[in-house]
Structures are given as structure tokens and as C-alpha cells.
């Protein structure tokens, strides 16, 4: 076995290293295009495909190889279909790596049943479940979204600083929302705060008045909404404002975005929150790039860009599309040392790597990978004023 395997690897390495040889590299974009979060998926896919196009057009990637995205539907609700789609991407379309999956449930299924067995590298832009930190991944799974545990602590700090002692909490009823809500609640209560109610809401429903009624009855100075800004989270905020239940909202990562401000309007002024980010202008640059390419940078769209970029930069650094080789480079291109890389600078990064230099990919979501290959959790504290997201500070 070792012989044939070694042969394949060496042939692949040889092909990749042969000067002037330009191949087509495929990257799988495996997201929940149908199902309850189907409305989030297109923007995320566009984010990943933006990075892929950028790399492909640069001409610098692995001696001029082109990169094309191949989409797959992980459905979010159907582990079987997700696995099959991943299987198809890997074994039939022959993708070199996968951006995805989207929901934590589908992600674990794909990882266990398709990616691990086939030795494929996956970077999820959006799976945040703490369970993924401990899952067996053979060094093949990374995520650009931070684990929820860290975010809870940061939010609790901010609440404390604002002098909040009582808060109501609602979360989207999936592993992301539930995990985040639990971590916020425990961190906040450790600091002596009170969570008056910790209630879920379902995404993809139209009506949230009953949920808001319960939240309002429980009371609290602010309402923490651990949801998605274009799903139930938006509905909750809207219904809470409409009925006068709450005026101030605490917005975790899934809720911060221009879309929410656009949808809700000036009533959102005074609300505050956090989202992954560091002292860089990556997010703004990405937003502009997205607008130029005709899509709205929704939730996890920047992360998807970063996920795709990281995969490609790691391949470039390793000089190979063999997962066994480049999986070790993902962390090194994401972290220091090296030149900081923002969105739109992928060509530059590829060139540096080609010349043997180092890069520290910052990207649209201020990527910093720690521990088991997940985002370190640098957060940007923001406040909404005059219909704009104003950065207060970095944490």
C-alpha cells in the first residue's frame, strides 16, 4: 500500500512542481442551499467563490493553475444527503478541499463520513458548535468561525461594563444558538448578572409575537438575541421593537450586519454587540468587494471568503494540492509571522508564498487560528449609532 500511495503522492507532487504546468484545481463549496437556512447559503457561497475567482485570476496559484468552485448541497436537515453531496464533491468532482459545511450537524456528518475517510481538508465558515472543538478530525478540519464559548465571555464583559444586571436572552433553536446562549448565560451569571429568561426561537417561521411576549413578560434591561440577522433573529428584534418590549438589543456575531440595520432602521440605534474581527479594515474592504460583485455580504459570507482563501494559500505554501501535505500549512498561513493579508490581496499573498516568504492571513474576518484549528475569537465591539455600525474597541 505504501508503495502505491507514495507513488500517487510523488506523481501529484511532480505534476504540481513541474514548471509551467497549469492544472485545474477544484474547491468544493458545500452549503445548505435547500432547507431551513437556504436563504443564508447563496451569500456564503458567493463569498467563497469570490476568493476562488481572485486566486484563479491572479495567475500566481501553483504555476498558473486555475481554480474553480463546485457547489454541493448539504441541506442542513439531512445528514444523509449532506454526506452524499460531499462524497460526490470529493470522489467524483475531485475537489482538492471543501469550504463547508454550513450547519454544525451537517458539518460533523460530512467530516465523519466523507472528509475523514477520504482524507479531504474542510474549513467551515459557519459551524460554531463547541462540540466541533473536540471532535476527532485528524488535523483535517478547521473553522473560521469562533467557538461559542469565548464569545459568551466577551459578551458578558461588555454587559457588565454597560452596567446591565438583568437581561432577557433568546436564541435560534439549533446547536449554534443553543451553545452560544448557554455560554452567554453562564458567563453572565458568573459575573452576578441575571438572565430573566433563556428561550429559543425557530428560524424560518413567520411569526414571533408569542416568543416576544414571553421575553417581554420576563423583563430585563436589554434583550440578547443569539440568532441570525436575516432569520428568526431579525424577526425577534422587529417584533420586540414593534411591540415596545425592548429598545436595546445585544447582538452576537450572527446578528451584526448592514442587512439588519437596513431592515430595522433607526430604531436599532443604541444597540450594541460584537463580531469576530481585529484592528483591521478587512471587513470593510470585503463589504465593498462584495458590493462590486453584486451580492450582499450576509452572515458568514466574509468567513467563507477567508475559508477559501486559507485553503488556497495553504496549498500554495505547500506547493501541492494533496491534503495530506497542505493540511499542515493552514495554521501557518493564517497566523504570524508574515505579512498581513487583507481581502483583495490574495495575488500578493500568493506571490510572497511562491517566493518562499511567509504570510499572516487576516482576511475579512480577522482570522487567527488556535488550538484545534478554530478561530481564536478576536472580537470587535460595536455600537449602532445613526444607522451605522461604529466600532467601539477590540477585544
Amino acid at each position: 500500500m505504501k508503495k502505491s500511495f507514495a507513488a500517487i503522492v510523488s506523481v501529484a507532487a511532480l505534476l504540481a512542481a513541474t514548471p509551467g504546468f497549469a492544472a485545474e484545481v477544484k474547491i468544493g463549496v458545500l452549503l445548505g442551499f435547500t432547507g431551513p437556512l437556504e436563504s443564508l447559503a447563496p451569500a456564503i457561497a458567493s463569498g467563497a467563490e469570490l476568493a476562488i475567482a481572485e486566486v484563479s485570476e491572479s495567475g500566481e496559484f501553483l504555476d498558473g493553475s486555475t481554480v474553480t468552485p463546485v457547489r454541493g448541497d448539504s441541506t442542513c436537515v439531512d445528514a444523509g444527503a449532506a454526506t452524499t453531496a460531499a462524497e460526490r464533491l470529493i470522489t467524483s468532482d475531485g475537489v482538492a478541499a471543501i469550504v463547508g459545511a454550513m450547519c454544525s450537524g451537517a458539518t460533523t456528518a460530512v467530516l465523519q463520513n466523507a472528509a475523514l475517510p477520504n482524507g479531504t481538508v474542510m474549513i467551515s465558515p459557519s459551524a460554531t458548535s463547541p462540540a466541533l472543538s473536540t471532535v476527532e478530525d485528524n488535523g483535517q478540519f478547521f473553522r473560521v468561525a469562533p467557538s461559542d464559548a469565548r464569545q459568551g465571555e466577551v459578551l458578558a464583559d461588555i454587559l457588565e461594563e454597560h452596567g446591565i444586571t438583568e437581561a432577557a436572552l433568546t436564541y435560534t433553536n439549533n446547536d449554534y444558538g443553543k451553545g452560544l446562549a448557554d455560554s452567554i448565560a453562564s458567563a453572565f451569571e458568573k459575573k452576578g448578572g441575571t438572565i430573566t429568561i433563556n428561550a429559543s426561537h425557530e428560524d424560518g417561521k413567520g411569526d414571533y409575537s408569542a416568543e416576544v411576549a414571553a421575553l417581554a413578560s420576563a423583563g430585563g434591561e436589554v434583550l440578547i438575541v443569539a440568532g441570525y440577522l436575516d432569520q428568526g433573529g431579525k424577526g425577534i428584534v422587529q417584533a420586540a421593537l414593534d411591540s415596545g418590549a425592548f429598545d436595546t438589543f445585544i447582538l452576537p456575531d450572527g446578528m451584526v450586519g448592514e442587512l439588519l440595520i437596513e431592515a430595522i432602521g433607526p430604531d436599532l440605534d443604541g444597540s450594541y454587540g460584537i463580531y469576530p474581527g481585529s484592528d483591521s479594515s478587512g471587513a470593510e474592504i470585503f463589504a465593498k468587494m462584495a458590493a462590486d460583485n453584486g451580492f450582499n455580504p450576509g452572515v458568514y459570507s466574509p468567513e467563507a471568503y477567508d475559508a477559501a482563501a486559507l485553503l488556497l494559500l495553504a496549498m500554495q505554501k505547500a506547493g501541492s494540492t494533496d491534503p495530506a501535505v497542505f493540511k499542515g500549512e493552514v495554521v501557518s498561513v493564517a497566523n504570524e509571522p508574515g505579512e498581513k493579508i487583507l481581502p483583495g490581496e490574495l495575488a500578493k499573498a500568493l506571490k510572497i508564498l511562491k517566493d518562499g516568504g511567509d504570510v499572516d492571513y487576516v482576511g475579512a474576518s480577522a482570522v487567527e487560528l488556535i488550538g484545534p484549528g478554530e478561530s481564536a475569537g478576536n472580537f470587535r465591539e460595536i455600537e449602532i449609532q445613526d444607522g451605522k455600525i461604529q466600532t467601539v474597541k477590540y477585544r
Partner: protein, 338 residues
């Protein structure tokens, strides 16, 4: 006294007003399925998608109108789009009947076959709708948002609790009342309406009396589609339009229709309100309400909630199942269920 007023305003604001609007939307939906059931005798699982289809046309028509500067501010433009939505849905549904259902009617197929056929139609429509407009949220509301906002109400009355009434809620209720009024007038007073009820009552005798089955079926589909378009548009206007939502709405609508008595229009309306208010009131947390009306020491520590909001949708199913088991003919139906 002021406490009592506050309590009243509180529960009106958080339970009664939203419940009323939601109830109207369910009632309109339930009327649509109940009409089809009465005349064609099957549960139309595709009805949710018909609502979605109507709302989708309303969204497109609204956009076109908005682009051309047509507006009836402070009312939402979508009201002007409503006729297009109704017309579009009717045409689509009649085409479906012609292409799909008619065949099975002529075969006098079993009820279950009709249900399965409607599931097939549901699949096709679900896919088509998402294919055309995409799976995203579409906001098409414009005009004045509030009749009165919570803040204004507080300033106006000096009460601690606010009462917000959204324009869309008022429109929902008014439109529903008009639609239901027209429907009941049609069914009770016109010759065609009576012939429809007669056909629903006793198909064979209606045929014997010279009532044309084809015509009745045609009218039933037309009414059902029109109601669905109105319900879907109102739902989208009040909340926001998203295809996935309607798939989830089918069961509460069936619940409403069955609670009221499948085939009974009056029952459908009553069922809609029963389901809506049950969902809201059973999952309502009465803590603050009790805080106003009870002496302080009596106020419970907990939320005073019968059931967590997690189970909101389960409430409709529990009522549905309970009705089927205890009184399968529904609350407002004199005919036997079998």
C-alpha cells in the same frame, strides 16, 4: 385602577393584537382548504404553496409598481398588487386543476390518491417558487408602519405599558373581514354560492338537481386560490415573505380547518382564531400581567407560563390531534365525520 389598565394594555399588546392578526391569516388559509375539502373532498397539502405563490406574485407586482412610482401612501403598495396576486394564483391553480386534478376526478379516485397528488403538486410548486424568486426573505412593505406605536401610546396615556398597532395588522384584519364578508355573502345569498353549498352537502343530489359539478369545482378552486393569495400576501406583508415559512404553515392551517370542522366555512374561521389564540395564550408568560393585578407577595417567581414557547407550534398539533380524537367532525360541523 391604573394597574388593571396596564395589565389590560399589556395583554392586548402582546397577546390579543398579534393573536388577532395571526388568527385572521390562519382563518383565510383554513377557509381555502375547507372549501376544497367541502367540494372536492380531499385535504389539499399544496395549499401552503398556493399561498406562497400568491404572495410571490404580490411581491413582484409591488416591486414593479414601486419602480413606476405608484403608491398609495400611507397604505402599503402591496394592496394595489393584491388583485394581480389573486388573478395569478387563480390562473395557476385552475391550470393545475386542468392538468392534474381533473383526471383523478373523472376517475373518481380515492381520497388518499388526491392527497398524494396534492403532495406532488406541493413538491412542484415549492421547487418552482424557490426557483423563480429564490429562498430568501423578501421585504415588500412600505407606507406607514404604525397606526400607533408603543412609545406614542405611552406618551399619550401616561400608562407604563405601551400598545402598538401596526398598519399591517389593521390591514390584515380589515381585509380579512371584507374577504370573509364577501365569501359568506356569496355562499349564503347567491344562486351559485348556494349551489356550491348544495354540492358540498350532497354531490349526487346536486347533480340530479342540474347543478354542474365542473362549474362548482371551478368556482371552489377559484375561491380557494383567491383566499390563498390574500392570506399569503397579508402574511408576507405583516411578517415578511419567505418561501420556507409557508411549508410550515400548512399544519396549523389544517389544524384550524379541522378544529372548526372540515368543510365548514364558519368553522374554519373559528378554528383559525382558536388555534392562533391558543398558541399565543398557552405560551404566554403571565408573570408581568400577574404583577399588575395581584398583590406583590402573590406574584410567582417563575414566568407563569403553561408551556415554553419552544412548544408553540406543538400547541396547534396537540389541539389538532385532540380534536380528531375527541370530536373528529369538528366543533362547528353537524355532519358526521365518516
Amino acid at each position: 385602577m391604573e394597574d388593571a389598565l396596564n395589565a389590560l394594555v399589556l395583554i392586548t399588546n402582546f397577546a390579543l393584537v398579534p393573536g388577532l392578526a395571526y388568527g385572521c391569516q390562519l382563518a383565510l388559509g383554513a377557509l381555502g382548504v375547507t372549501l376544497i375539502f367541502a367540494v372536492l373532498r380531499f385535504s389539499n397539502f399544496a395549499h401552503g404553496e398556493t399561498m406562497s405563490f400568491g404572495a410571490m406574485i404580490a411581491v413582484f407586482a409591488t416591486w414593479i409598481l414601486q419602480d413606476n412610482g405608484v403608491s398609495i401612501d400611507p397604505l402599503p403598495t402591496a394592496l394595489l398588487a393584491l388583485p394581480f396576486a389573486i388573478l395569478g394564483s387563480i390562473l395557476f391553480v385552475l391550470a393545475t386543476d386542468r392538468v392534474v386534478y381533473r383526471f383523478y376526478r373523472e376517475q373518481r379516485s380515492d381520497q388518499v390518491i388526491f392527497i398524494i397528488v396534492s403532495i406532488g403538486v406541493m413538491f412542484v410548486m415549492a421547487g418552482l417558487i424557490r426557483f423563480i424568486i429564490g429562498p430568501n426573505d423578501q421585504v415588500f412593505t412600505d407606507g406607514e408602519r404604525f397606526l400607533i406605536s408603543a412609545r406614542d401610546f405611552r406618551d399619550l396615556t401616561g400608562l407604563r405599558e405601551g400598545l402598538a398597532i401596526k398598519t399591517t395588522q389593521v390591514i390584515t384584519v380589515v381585509t380579512t373581514v371584507i374577504a370573509m364578508g364577501l365569501l359568506f355573502w356569496f355562499l349564503q345569498k347567491t344562486r351559485t354560492g348556494k349551489s356550491m353549498r348544495a354540492y358540498a352537502d350532497n354531490e349526487d343530489l346536486a347533480t340530479l338537481s342540474g347543478i354542474d359539478a365542473g362549474r362548482v369545482v371551478l368556482i371552489a378552486w377559484t375561491l380557494s386560490a383567491a383566499l390563498a393569495a390574500v392570506a399569503g400576501t397579508l402574511y408576507g406583508l405583516d411578517k415578511s415573505y419567505k418561501p420556507f415559512v409557508f411549508q410550515e404553515l400548512v399544519l396549523p392551517i389544517f389544524a384550524a380547518a379541522i378544529v372548526g370542522g372540515f368543510g365548514s366555512p364558519l368553522g374554519a374561521v373559528a378554528g383559525g382564531f382558536i388555534i392562533a389564540f391558543a398558541e399565543v395564550l398557552i405560551t404566554y408568560a403571565y408573570k408581568r400581567f400577574l404583577g399588575y393585578i395581584l398583590p406583590e407577595s402573590w406574584v410567582p417567581d417563575g414566568l407563569a407560563q403553561f408551556l415554553s414557547t419552544d412548544y408553540k407550534f406543538a400547541v396547534a398539533f396537540v389541539i389538532l390531534v385532540a380534536t380528531l380524537l375527541l370530536r373528529p367532525s369538528g366543533l362547528f360541523n353537524k355532519r358526521a365525520a365518516t
